[in-house]
Amino acid sequence: MITGIPVIDPEACDACGSCVEWCPTGAVGIVDGKAVIVSPRDCYYCTDCEKVCPAGAVKCPFSIVLVQNKPEGNTEKPE
């Protein structure tokens, strides 16, 4: 289930702190020896935490959604 915040696998996280250091909004912190999103409202899903995590513990999946009812100019019918 995607909630709009990065998904952190506590088993894989070794609390190196890279994500905390890189997060531009301070949304990530280390709690009880594991990285967690401590301030979800501040996370704007830049995905830097996923990029810098050396353990591959952070995942930032994107949902790929087709938006309907948005005619493109006058040339294409809605799909």
């Binding site: 709009g4 930032c60 994107f62 949902s63 790929i64 959604v65 087709l66 040339t75 294409e76």
Partner: protein, 220 residues
């Protein structure tokens, strides 16, 4: 045994068949001659059957919308080509043209299918493999002809579905997208931003919204 029968028996497809079966196949086989440069068949046309080079050389290739060509195979005497649509029932995946003055044997699709028709499991397996080979051919086409932006646009077009529709919404990380289009994560990030600037998608936190599929198609 006629030279045609001997030739057919030497082919990997037919080497284990009894002489009488080969003789039956031989009755269906057409011998066709082509001048240098002449087109045997076009990509996306219905498949007539399996072709085998008797003499000369045949170039099998795909063409980009801009006219660029990617050669998939130079078929020499004894080589078969157009195997995929024979077994998956789809259209020709590529175009074939004679590189030299050439003679080919055409084994009609029905004749080829009849060889495995009495074994539905074998037919199912070759159909599955042929479908996978067709998919790999399209991967080669994408890597050869499309830029990263074009490949990513195609991926988004292929995967995007409406929310709450019958198909589940696909979820991919940028690393997964990179692996699927044959590039690296940083390039995907830049490509996504470019596609967004051009108005084809909108990125809202964890959602990539395909708002203008027509614009994505223009990027292919």
């Amino acid at each position: 045994m006629s030279s045609q029968l001997e030739f057919l028996k030497s082919l990997p497809y037919f080497e284990n068949l009894d002489d009488e079966v080969i003789a039956r196949i031989s009755q269906d086989v057409l011998e066709l001659s082509f001048a240098r440069g002449q087109v045997l068949f076009l990509e996306d046309e219905p498949c007539r059957g399996l072709y085998v080079v008797k003499a000369g050389r045949i170039r099998v290739f795909k063409t980009s919308p801009e006219g660029r060509e990617q050669v998939m195979l130079i078929a020499q005497p004894g080589d078969s080509f157009n195997d995929v649509p024979v077994f998956d029932g789809g259209p020709n995946p590529a175009t074939a043209a004679a590189l030299d003055a050439s003679v080919v044997y055409l084994v009609p699709r029905g004749t080829m299918i009849s060889l495995v028709a009495d074994c539905p499991a074998a037919l199912a397996v070759v159909k599955l493999f042929a479908g996978r080979l067709r998919h790999l051919t399209s991967v080669v086409e994408d890597l050869s002809f499309r830029s990263v932006v074009g490949r990513l646009a195609k991926l988004l077009l292929d995967l995007a579905v409406v929310e709450d529709g019958p198909a589940p919404v696909r979820q991919l990380t940028q690393d997964e997208m990179a692996a699927m289009v044959g590039t690296v994560r940083d390039v995907i990030g830049r490509a996504l931003r470019q596609i967004e600037r051009e108005g084809a998608i909108k990125i809202e936190k964890h959602r990539i919204l395909v708002v203008a599929p027509g614009k994505l198609r223009e990027m292919l």
